[in-house]
Symmetry: C2
């Protein structure tokens, strides 16, 4: 758990936005409803909603993953990204006791 890396990942409006969308995928990505959200949301939908290029969003998701804030699951041609709530909980604890 690299603190600096986590805070850097969180230091961007779009990335915070993405994390927020992933809190309630059914609400923010209703198009994907039939496929379910067990593994999260695929890059393409996040890309469309974010209004940035595919490459930028892909890089953002990778950086969130490196920080441990999301997990990635490949399924066929899609990669699904999902929040990793444990990291958020750990970070919250860290802030009130360690930092």
């Amino acid at each position: 758990m690299d603190q600096v890396e986590i805070f850097k990942a969180l230091s961007n409006k779009t990335r915070l936005q993405i994390l927020n969308w992933l809190k309630e995928p059914e609400l923010h990505f209703p198009e994907q409803k039939e496929n379910g959200f067990e593994h999260g949301v695929c890059v393409g939908r996040i890309h469309q909603k974010a209004g940035l290029t595919q490459s930028t969003v892909s890089e953002y998701l990778t950086s969130l993953q490196r920080a441990g804030l999301v997990t990635a699951t490949r399924a066929g041609q899609w990669t699904y990204y999902k929040r990793n709530e444990e990291t958020f909980a750990a970070l919250s604890r860290l802030i009130q006791s360690e930092i």
Copy 2:
């Protein structure tokens, strides 16, 4: 409470270090003991301990203050910086409920 600004302020090893020192000033800045720590620690001592130039440390402290993570109190020729625990508590809550 600008989330991005807070996370940017926390995205630096030295600044995290400073915040950590300020948790226990009497432990990390014993030289200042006779003056007390009610208003925190003055820039010069933090500068010496950090091993970066005075200007850099002054800028770092200003950025921590802008983020609301510390408060600054001027007393004579000294400026004392002190942790603002309310912001840390609020941030901790924010992470576990909002972000």
